[in-house]
Subunit: 196 residues, 2 copies
């Protein structure tokens, strides 16, 4: 039995509960009933804060997307050689992914069944495209090896970065976001091989 | 309405239908009813071939695991410098992933709710561990840069390779498995940066 708590939620704290449930059950598999149970407040209390689960999804993926797009507005992403800007963006992507782990995890699992999901996918593609443009610019400057195709390389680099959500746990025992970001930058730009 | 076909399935062809449904609906979300509809044969016909959906899962992930473990038995994975063996294994992982795309996709999505899923996760960890050992041996030979931690590097390399299931489509219009494998090997070992 759920003992209904007094509703002391703010939109922010309710969002963090919703994101946890979405990540555990999948967005499609989550009902308002599940959210109500997880939050320990009635469904009508939740409707006091939001119009429904799709609004919670939109707020959650917006937080992830704002974090990612925010990177592109930062000075080091805008000014300098394309290769340096790309390196900065890769590092910051790892940091944002770890700082906003549950929100980015949700964003990466979005499937496209609802309008909000399709909007999120569109925005993700837009972000990927901006990073691919940076990679293309670095290639045009001769700072990226010529034997990798830009679109494929972008996908693989995103694959490496995004995989972090599958295993990173912020339990204090593991690696810091700085260590992970350093390693990703080393591997993405220099690869595994010991420089001769 | 489903018009029941005469059952002309072999265990092999039934498996390929089951894997497609598992990948579309998730293993948990798939019932024998769904499998019966997708195959166009009755549930009892399916039970003629297998004991149930868990046996289909086991056969499917076994196929993926056999493909991956098979690599480790190949000559170039067993003989030579650790760094060359590692490079060979990375290339072959990409090739197996693409050749056995639906089977590896299913393997990578296994959650651990049933005995078969937990067994599959255990075997995956075992494979990852074998590749990590190769990376460690290459590092001990001084052929891998010293400033990346082996376990983290293994995870990131697997993240890059496994991400291929998210976007690779064998439609004949895209890249061949050879092109993808070449690019992965270049990025994993040499990174993006144009060698000075």
């Amino acid at each position: 039995m759920t003992t209904a708590k007094r509703d002391t939620y703010t939109p922010e704290t309710l969002l963090s509960v919703a994101v946890r449930v979405f990540n555990e059950r999948g967005y499609d598999g989550t009902s308002m009933e599940h959210l109500s149970k997880a939050a320990g407040i009635s469904k009508s209390s939740i409707y006091h804060h939001v119009t429904g689960k799709e609004e919670l999804l939109r707020r959650a993926v917006s937080r992830a997307l704002d974090g990612l797009f925010g990177i592109l507005g930062e000075e080091h992403a805008r000014v300098g050689h394309a290769a340096d800007r790309l390196e900065y963006v890769v590092r910051r992507m790892v940091e944002v992914l770890i700082t906003e782990l549950p929100y980015v995890t949700l964003l990466l699992r979005v499937r496209g069944n609802t309008e909000t999901e399709r909007w999120a996918l569109e925005r993700r593609r837009d972000f990927d495209h901006r990073v691919a443009e940076l990679l293309k610019a670095a290639a045009a400057d001769g700072e990226v090896r010529a034997d990798v195709e830009v679109r494929l390389a972008t996908r693989l680099v995103f694959g490496m970065i995004n995989s972090i959500v599958e295993w990173y746990r912020p339990d204090g025992r593991g690696m810091s976001e700085r260590e992970v970001a350093d390693t990703v930058v080393r591997l993405v730009f220099g690869g595994l091989r010991q420089a001769g």
